[in-house]
Symmetry: C2
Subunit: 340 residues, 2 copies
DNA sequence: GTGAAAGCGCTAACAC
DNA sequence: GTGTTAGCGCTTTCAC
């Protein structure tokens, strides 16, 4: 394979017998070019397969038309849907996406990722890293000094725009629903309690139940395997339990699986509600009642918001007031929580 | 919010009372700087929060340390795992990732994506778009003229490096296994037959069964809903069927669901094998026998390969011979295909 | 309408 | 060791 040099504006100009600027005007669709000249230049561009170097452009224009996205493990449904939504909307608005996945294992990878994005001169950043332990403390300090706008998804910053579906409300919805269906002893399988979202769902569950005791709760790790363990342990420590609310659909699946193994009928002997509404959940056996969070939608709106902030900044207008948008979670009722 | 100007190397130099060059040497860890000077400069850098502009660097170095990734809908398990693997390895090797998702709806979005990545001066491209219909024809034409190396994942180009797990082998594995378990009439639920992977799995299934007829096949769309429809229709048109091989785990889930509705016992009345080994499949009821494709692993190797090609090209060495690496799919046996 | 000159932020090549 | 000069590929004044 021969190493190809890519064509530059200079070569096009030379070939066309015009100046570099004229070519520049053509590729930027400026009006002040004679029609013939324009056509000539376009032909040459076509022939040489010339493409303007976006990097050189960014350098001089101070605008890269690039957004940074920071999120986590895509095998969680939320981040995956979020990324999909972000990509779509970014693409619509003409942005490229630079992707950083920060993994829970590596502690200050987030800071790394941020610096990297800044170095790449992104025009803005979508931050969608789940709040775990104190993993955002550094960011709240740094945020006011950043040179580019940031919009958060599923994270509640102190003073920055964010799109959030409040998990606490989800917890309430699920629990209310189970009570309404006649279940009386509602166990909870949480995500890792270091995750803020997991704690919020727990709070929502507590909000509805007048009093709760520790033996009604099992701390899972989002995996189906932990859901399975969770049901077994909850049944042992809280025998009167007749329903379970799981903090995600995978764990709910583990519960269904364990229930089958134990010969418990769902929903007759045990009501089950999950969270996330992964597409598979409608086909579990029985189909799973769950909570939808519309994350792709949130994320699209986040990108639009970010775009506004970028445009405003470009025109040196006053910055937009940080806005925290809350989305309503939605209960999706299926068989697993409806005893005929 | 004040619009912040980002700090440039010039300001650092001025502040430190040295030349721009010296600062450049410091940030690039060049040896030929006096220790004190270095320390001084580093202090200033720290204080001003200076970060080198990666864009300016790329421009002059002709190296962006950026890879382009083109893939599809992340709600398919394969692309999602692939992207995860790519991100990890790219990160390891010090690359940023520019992500493009091409959706089936928009026909020549792929070409768009490619041009965009080239404009962004990526150092190389990982191409992981499923082959659907003739959607790659244009690319095979264009490929030899590209200025950057491309490695394919799950795609078989005519003459370029690629990492593939041959779907035909998967089809064989699944079918052989079902026969070995004593099933005799094996139906097939395919993905959309415009997808090459779907056709390959079908071919593998045909390889094992000496003769097959159209009524043994149902063309699904990868969704669980289509798996459900598939089982119902297959039972109608092929009543003696006692096992189903589904081209992905979601459709297999739909089959399990339909089987429950119809009062068919799995695996006693009906054997079921899926494909992909999504994490949930181990917790379906019954747990699903399936085929693992190790896509994250393939993708990492693809990135390493791409990195080699980039390094080689940088040093003007001869290009590496295009290598097509094949990975063995692996049968994961669970309850759904093992009648006691 | 078109071109010449300057410069975005940085590095490479060469002086000293 | 350090500074000077040139220039990556492009856009932006400002002449003509």
């Amino acid at each position: 394979m021969v190493v190809k040099k890519s064509v530059t504006i200079r070569e096009v100009a030379q070939e066309a017998g015009v100046s570099i600027q004229t070519v520049s005007r053509v590729i930027n669709n400026r009006p002040d070019v004679a029609p013939e000249t324009r056509r000539l230049v376009q032909t040459i561009i076509e022939r040489l397969g010339y493409q303007p170097n976006a990097i050189a452009r960014s350098l001089i224009r101070r605008r890269s038309h690039t957004l940074g996205v920071v999120t986590t493990e895509l095998d969680h449904y939320g981040p995956m849907r979020g990324l999909t939504g972000i990509e779509q909307e970014a693409n619509n608005l003409g942005y490229s996406l630079i992707l950083s996945l920060v993994h829970r294992r590596e502690p200050d990878h987030g800071e790394h990722a941020l610096n990297n994005l800044l170095a790449q001169q992104v025009d803005g950043i979508i931050w969608a890293v789940p709040e775990i332990g104190n993993n955002h403390a550094w960011l709240w300090d740094k945020l006011p000094h950043l040179s580019v706008p940031v919009v958060f998804v599923g994270v509640s910053p102190h003073d920055a725009p964010s799109m959030v579906t409040p998990s606490r409300v989800s917890g309430r919805l699920a629990t209310e629903h189970l009570l309404a269906q006649g279940y009386q002893h509602i166990g909870l399988i949480t995500g890792p309690l270091s995750w803020k979202a997991a704690r919020q769902r727990q709070l929502g569950w507590q909000d509805i139940l007048s009093k709760t005791t520790p033996n009604q709760t099992f701390e899972g790790d989002w995996s189906a395997a932990s859901g399975e363990r969770g049901l077994r342990q909850l049944l042992a420590q809280y025998p009167e339990m007749d329903a379970v609310y799981a903090s995600n659909d995978q764990m709910a699946l583990g519960v269904l699986n364990a229930a089958h193994q134990l010969g418990l009928r769902v929903p007759e002997d045990l009501g089950v509600v999950g969270t996330d509404n992964i597409p598979e959940s409608a086909f579990f056996w029985p189909p799973l009642t769950t909570i939808r969070h519309q994350i792709a939608q949130n994320s699209k709106i986040a990108v639009r918001q970010l775009n506004c902030m970028i445009e405003n900044k470009q025109q040196n207008q006053d910055a937009i007031q940080p806005e925290q948008v809350h989305f309503e979670p939605e209960l999706i009722i299926r068989k697993s929580s409806v005893p005929s």
